[in-house]
Structures are given as structure tokens and as C-alpha cells.
Subunit: 295 residues, 4 copies
């Protein structure tokens, strides 16, 4: 199928809450989206892990989804994460996002009961049958509890027409090598593991899905430009410059660290929902120091 | 705090759905509960993993919770699983269950973002502050993604007054040994891993939380009786007799296998919700064979 | 084949060294063997993990092997660990031990390069063809780097005539269940994981291979007697009494802790060979305290 | 300390045996060394994993070590793996290699009993005190059973003067990032995981220790040259060209596949020692095909 050319730096949005965590702050969401686009990211991805999609009620999810798509307003492509525990609910979300104007939907096979390969394939098939937009298959065993082998991923890509892109977040570069080898270089893959950014590009990733542009957009973009310019030495240097921040936001948890980082730059987006804690004082000081060093 | 004496065979209920999976079948739920109680189980636990609690909408969850508690009607204690991703939602469920008459609530620290020990402790603390009934702490990293160490579990037991019982489902018997050693024999623990039933009782577990009584109640009860009678040889023999069924339902997935098993005995409870598949023909034949051998 | 009836408490011997670690102290070895036999163990097993077999030169290995067998002098059966990295060297050791009078040889598939199932099977086959005594197959992935599945173990038992016993040291009780189920109760299995002693006997293990009788023989023997007497309550109580020592010697490393324990009781056996350290002062104090509590 | 500049492609040698595996074939070893040097590798490393060092008797080890060093004859630096289970034996080997003229010794903390950090540090310290040549610390948990953290590695580098280089074979690129970050770019690191060759160079590795030059030296050298030329696109293309061979030799086991590969090119070096099997017919056909494709 014809699909939008997704590439480069794909920025994750957070989901801002009111001070007590009970309601959404859509105005802050809009400003965070504008910032990302103004900084130069190549696509916007709402409601992913960083966006605390799993912690929203269905009504909230719909609201954030619709608002984000309309706010982006085709300035760049919007990739909406529509994962849900049951196939019926994931289908509903995918249809909703498409109806609101999403360019791509991203699907992680979240599970409570461990899924068989046939069940995962059927899950993608049902979503694929329900929408016309391209689907980015997302593999992230650390959050989903399901690890899809490269063989399974390619089986899904080959049997579900609109699964046309793969986001790999195991952090194991060999998965990308195998996607390249077994997919004969025809399946575009994207990196979802921040500290693997340099090597994923070296291995041929078409893009990097990351929450980092909320705090250090220029360094993320420069790394991608260095790779496009075939300048490995500069890419390596840029990568090591930003690695302390990438390590920090991964280790501290993306919603907590990114929300703290946005607050430091004057954009109040509230705290993550409990049981996730906001970044503590020591963490805030460390993040502030890391960001200051990069200026 | 004074707490009901929970011990013995604690039977999990399934959640019956209509043929197309879209609605609840409370009448079938009621009959499955009556069967379990008539067979002699010592407590009933709705909405756990077997009960597909994670796959229900909030409204459905409330309906199943209230209906189950009222149907049990204090014939035996009811232990309701109230786990949810956010602390606010888990608190709401715990309060709801208590208001409807639950004797105990069970709490698994489900997570999307990996939780720190402080976050887990605060989560239990918030739920503990919200209800007056005892809480059974539940550790099951395979489904929750969070593995609580024995040290953390005891820290929670010691700091949250109404966390008075521990359900261990790692399948690692050493956890029970350490609960016993470090808890100085004062913290009642329960086994949630079916193929560990014999050894958990040998190690001093007070009860066995299991879906198996839906299909082989007498063997489950006999094993417990043999342990109470201090008859290790008979307990071993009974365990190995039922082990093929225990292995089968674990490997095949509890909702799929238990629902198939109930159907075989004339109680139609529908299928699990997709993406989980119902038991396939080969699995049904194997289960039928295993059950026939035990008659 | 007809085989000696190996059962009960199978005591591991340490290998005593001179003060500087450079030479063997056979006299001390002899006294440690006599102690074990006098305490009532049902079999003696030299040159296992506890015996630092891997840290000896070939000449030392031969000396310890011959000396141990002759010192036991058929008072109880002797089970000699003959594992080595190459098949040729393991065959040589097995033949040597048999020639010196070993009743059983124990074989762990040690490896540097990861072995395939066919390679492991051929290794056991070659040793089996070379000796007439029974072979105890030993599975211990933590030290050997090779984890044999139950299916592979039974394939070896079925195809190599004199592999007639299985020692399981994964610490996973389900392996024993599967050995029992798939072996139809016909393959005698032995436990090699100290903190699993109670549950392994509950699951039907015929014996317990352990270094513990060097320091607490009576408690080990009493546990076995309680199991034979079908007294689960007493077995549980005895197990929890000795568990602190079992946990301690496992965690501290068997050669270091057992050698320290023997020294405390007046039998000087030297230290483990470097890079393994002798038990430090804090560890010695803790072990002394644990042993004192049991008197 | 002043140390030879080790960089680039560091070729591992195999250890040739006679047809029945019982004796060494030093003549074939000499020819395999000459081939590697003639092909352009930047250093030679005998007696590593590929060299079946663990499967040799002490006398054989000495013979291979001395012969290799003399045959290389300073045409390129020689890095001899001197790992052994006891500290005393590793020290002996290190001294022997130094006396024979080795430029560097490589040390993997092989273990039977799991080593503590203090024990590992003492082991490196003892070897460091015994020789004057630089030591390449080698981390490879898959074969040694010991995984050294980056913190421990840097502690060793900082406290043992002649540990000046680190070879990382976990296959986890994040280890190299952390070595770079925490070592402030001052600790040269080398890659020992073949399918990580591209990314290790991207991350700043100074060299690649590999058995591949025995069969595809030019592709290995070209990849290194492309990295030196800062040509990422060419490096990526060269990497993916040779990846099928790199994957194959890793999966099939280095001694078996490399010995088969040498035989295909007319250099008979015998088979690996049992229990390791030589490459089977299907594997030989596959390797032949892969190599033919690269011509």
C-alpha cells in the first residue's frame, strides 16, 4: 500500500495532567506538540509509553487522541499508539484514530495472558482489516510482556497488508540485522531504544522513535543529519554527547523524567499518575545538570 | 487486625461471556460459583487471572464483582482481586468490593512502567488506607511484570496494617522458605503455582489458590486433606495423579482450558476474549482424555 | 544392569590442601572420609564441586580418586565424579576410577563451547561404553554451562545402558516432576540443591547429594528418616532447622564454607585454591553462630 | 606503561590436530599463522576460544604457545590467551608466554565456582604482578560463566597497572558505551562478538578480535578501513555482506566452522576435539555456499 514516508526523529508526546492528576490538561498538551514540531521533528507519536496511554480511561484516551491529531494538523505525520488488551478494544481505538485523521497507527501486542504466535498474528490481522492507514508493528517485551521473534514479525508483515513498518525496542541490535537480512532490506525498521540510537542508524534504521526531543531536540536531529551525511565520526561524537541524557531518561522512566524536563523549561505538564512517582529532588538536580552541560 | 481464617483450597472463578464475547453471562457465573462451593472449596476468588479481570471494562468489572460476592453469600469467604494499573483505580475497586461485602481483597502490583520499591509500597499503602478488610498481597511477575523480593514483601506486610497474607506465584519454592524464615513463621503464605502444590504445602503454605477445582475439585481437596493428615506418601501420590491436569491447564492458559473443561461437564461459559483463543480441538481432546483418566 | 542401591544421604568430600595450597593433604582427606562414614551417611562422593575436582592437576585428581576409594573401602558405596572437558579425558578418568574400585561414576557434561544434544549424548555414550559400573548423570547448568532438558536426560538414560541414575541440581522442582512423569517413575533421581532438600524428598527423590554432612550430619540424616517414616510435619520442622546452614554454605561457596566448618570442629583441611577465597572472618563468625544454634 | 598499539583486525588462530585428534599438527598451525599475516591482519591471537585452549593438556598448551609466538616472529603483535581455572596456573601460563616473547597476554576469569568481585580483582592483580607485558582483560560470560560489570572492569584497570585494554564479548553494545563514558574515553576497548562488528566500531572500538580472517580476511579488513575512512555507508554495506558468514561461524561454533572453512581452502587442520563435533555435511555445504557468494 502507499504509505507516508516516515523517517528521522519521531517525537513522543507526554500526556499532561492537572495538578491533582485527575484530569487532562489539553492546553499544555497542545503547547508541547507545537514545541516538538517547531524544533524540527519529522513526526509526532502520541499515546505511547511516554504518553501514559495505559493509565488513561477510555474517554481520556479518545480525547487525547483526537486533540493531538487535530493539533498536529498534518504539519508532520501523526502516529497514534492504539494498543489495548483485547482485540476488540484495540480495533475500536485504531478506527477512532483513523477517523480523526491519524496517518499511521502503532500496535504493541499488550497481554496479560501470554499470547501464542497465532494469537498475535490474528490480533494484527483483525486490526489490519479494520483500518486503511498503515500500521507500525511495535515490539517491546519489557512493557508488553510479549517478545516477537524476527520470524514472527516478518510473517505478520507478509500476511497483513497494512503492517508496513517495524519498531524494535528490545535494545538488541541483532534483531535489526535479522530484520534487514531476512526482510531482504525491504522492511523499514525504526529504533525505539534511546541508548541504541547510534548503532540503530549504523545498522540502517530509518528513524528513531524517542521522547528525547521534548528536552534535547537539536542533538537528536543533528545525530540523524550526521548519519544522512555519512559522517560516522560526527555521529559518534554527537551520540556520546547526548548519551548521558538518554541513559538518564530511560533509567528514570520516561513520563517522570520528560515531565520534569518540560517543567524546567517552563512548560508545566503535571506529574505522572500514581503509582508512578514524579522525578524526585535528586533526580531533578541531576537532570538539570545534564541539560545545562549540553547548552 | 482480626481477619477471616483463609486456608485450604481457594477456588478461582472464570468470567462467562455470551457466545460472541461481547456481554457477561451472570447466570452461568452463578452456577459455576455454586458448583465450586458445593464441591467443598474453602474460599472463592473472583476476577483473578483466570477470571479475565484485566479484559473487562470497568462497568463489567463492577458487575462481576458485586454479583459474585452476593452469590457466594458468605457460604465461604470471598477474596476479590482488585488490581488495576493506577493507584486511584485500584483504590476504587477495593472500596467497591468492600462495600459489596468482600471478605478479603487481593492486590497484584500490575504495571506498565517498571515500579520502584517505594512506588509499590505506596501503592499498597494507599489501598490499605482505603479499606478495612484484609489484603492478600499477590506476587506474580509473569503476569504483572513486577517481581517483589521477599524483603520488600515483608516490608509491606510490616508497614501496611491490613496486608496480612501473601500469595506467591513465582513458582520458586525458595521464596516461601524465605517468607517463612524472615517472617519468623508469622506471615501466612499461599501458593498460586499449580504444579508447585505438593511442595508448597510441604513448605508450610496455608492454602492453594487455584482454578483447578472447576474441573478436579476432589483431587485438590484430597491433597490438602492428606497434608493435614501428615500423610506425605498419600499427598505425593495424589499430587502426581493430578499433575498432568495441573500442567495442562497452566500450559494451555487458565481461561481457555478451564472454560473448555466446564463446557465438557455441561456448563456453558463461553470463550475467552480475543486475542486469547479458546482451546483448540486437539487441546480439547487431550483435556477430555486427562479428565477421563481421573474418573 | 544390576546396580548398587544408592539412596539417602550422599556425602561430598572436600579435597584438603597443605597450608600454601600447593600440595594435597591425604591424611586429612582420610580423616574427613572416616568422619562422614562414622556419622552415618549412606554413600561417599569424592571429587565433585565441593571437592574442587576442577582445580586439580591430572596427577592430583588420580591421587585423590584412588585414595578416597581405598579409604572408603566399601564401607558404603563410592560415587566418583569423573567429569572433564574432553571426552577422551573423561573416559580416562572413568576407567581409572572403575579400576580403583569405584561403585558408581558421576558425569557432568562440562563444556567450554556450548554442546548440542547430539554431542552430549555421544559424550555419555563414549563413557558408558568404556566402563562397567553404573553412571549417575548430573545436570547442573550453574557450574557446567549446559542445561540438559528432561527429554534429553531420558533419551540418554534410554540409550546408554549404564546411565541408571540422575542427579538434578537446577533447583527447579518441576524437573523432578517431569523426570517422574516422563520416566514413569522408573528413573531414580537425586537432589543436588541443598535448599530444595525437603521438596525433593516430597517429590520422590531417592537421595540427597550434599556437602552438609561434613558439618551437620545428624540433621541431614534425621530429615531423610522423617521422610522414610512418612512424617511430613517432622520433616518440615527438621528442614527449617537446618535451612539457615544450607542457605549459608550454598551462598558462601561449598569449598570455602565446608573447609571453614571442618576447621571449627578441629579438622584442618587447608583453604580452597585461588582465585576462590577462604571464608572471611565475618563469614566464619556467622557460620560458628549458625552451628552453635543447632547444638 | 608503554604498550604496543593494538588495533584493527586481530585474528584468532585455530589449533590443528592430527586426524585422530590425539596430537598437535604444528606444521599446519604455522601455515595458518602465515596465511593470516599475509592476508594483512594487524595482530595474531593464539589459544583463545577458537584455539581450543581449554581442551589442551598443559604440555600441549606450552607447545602451541611457544610455537605460535616464534612463528609470528614479531611480524605483528602476538596476544596469547593465558586463562586457567586457578590463579597459580594462569600466572604460570602468563610467565611462560612472556618468556617466549608474547607482546600481550589476554585473561578471561574462567571459573567453576562463581567468583566474587574481590576474587576476580585479586586474580588479575596476581597475574599483573607476575608479568611485565600488557594484559588485555577479557569479558565473556557465555564461556567463562563470569560477567564482569563495567564498574568492576574499570576498577581492575585502575588498580592493576598492566591491565591496559578491554575485550568485550557480551554482545551488548551498552557495555562499550559505559566503558567509554565511565572510562572517559581513555580505556581502549575491543570487540569480541562477530555480529556486533559494525556497531562496535561505530561506538569507538579500537579493534575486532575475530576468527573470521581465517576465511574472509579481506572483508574484515575492508570494514575496518571503511570505518577509518569515516565512510559509514560503505561500512554498513560491507558489514551486511559478511554478516551471513559471521552469523554462521558463531552459531556453528568457531572451532568446527573455521576448521571446516580452512579445509575448504586446502589447509587441513583436523577436527575439533570431542565432545565438540566437526561441522556436519549440511553445515559444510552451507558454509561453502556462503563463501562462494562472497567471491
Amino acid at each position: 500500500m502507499s504509505s507516508p514516508t516516515i523517517h528521522g526523529i519521531i517525537g513522543y508526546t507526554i500526556t499532561p495532567f492537572s495538578a491533582d492528576g485527575s484530569s487532562l490538561d489539553l492546553d499544555a498538551l497542545g503547547r508541547s506538540i507545537d514545541r516538538l514540531i517547531d524544533s524540527g521533528v519529522h513526526a509526532i507519536s502520541p499515546l505511547g509509553s511516554t504518553g501514559e496511554g495505559a493509565y488513561l480511561s477510555d474517554a481520556e484516551w479518545d480525547e487525547v487522541s483526537a486533540y493531538s491529531i487535530h493539533r498536529v494538523a498534518k504539519r508532520v505525520p501523526t502516529i497514534v499508539s492504539v494498543s489495548d488488551l483485547t482485540t476488540a478494544k484495540a480495533v475500536r481505538r485504531a478506527r477512532f484514530a483513523e477517523a480523526e485523521g491519524a496517518d499511521v497507527v502503532m500496535v504493541l501486542p499488550t497481554s496479560y495472558w501470554k499470547l501464542t504466535e497465532a494469537q498475535i498474528l490474528a490480533h494484527y490481522g483483525a486490526i489490519g482489516d479494520s483500518v486503511g492507514v498503515p500500521i507500525m508493528l511495535y515490539n517491546n517485551p519489557a512493557t508488553s510482556g510479549t517478545d516477537m521473534s524476527v520470524e514472527l514479525i516478518l510473517r505478520i508483515v507478509n500476511s497483513v497488508d497494512n503492517v508496513t513498518m517495524v519498531k524494535e525496542s528490545t535494545g538488541d541490535i541483532q534483531r535489526m540485522h535479522q530484520l534487514y537480512r531476512q526482510g531482504e532490506g525491504q522492511v523499514p525498521f525504526y529504533n525505539g531504544c534511546n541508548p541504541l540510537a547510534l548503532e540503530a542508524f549504523a545498522a540502517g534504521a530509518k528513524g528513531w522513535c524517542t521522547a528525547a526531543p521534548n528536552v534535547i531536540p537539536q542533538l537528536n536531529l543533528d545525530l540523524y543529519q550526521a548519519v544522512l551525511a555519512n559522517d560516522l565520526n560526527r555521529a559518534r561524537e554527537l551520540f556520546y554527547r547526548q548519551l548521558p541524557v538518554l541513559d538518564f531518561i530511560l533509567k528514570g522512566g520516561l513520563p517522570a523524567t520528560i515531565k520534569a524536563g518540560l517543567r524546567m523549561t517552563g512548560l508545566e505538564v503535571g506529574d505522572p499518575r500514581l503509582p508512578v512517582f514524579p522525578l524526585d529532588m535528586a533526580g531533578q538536580a541531576q537532570l538539570q545538570k545534564l541539560l545545562t552541560l549540553l547548552r
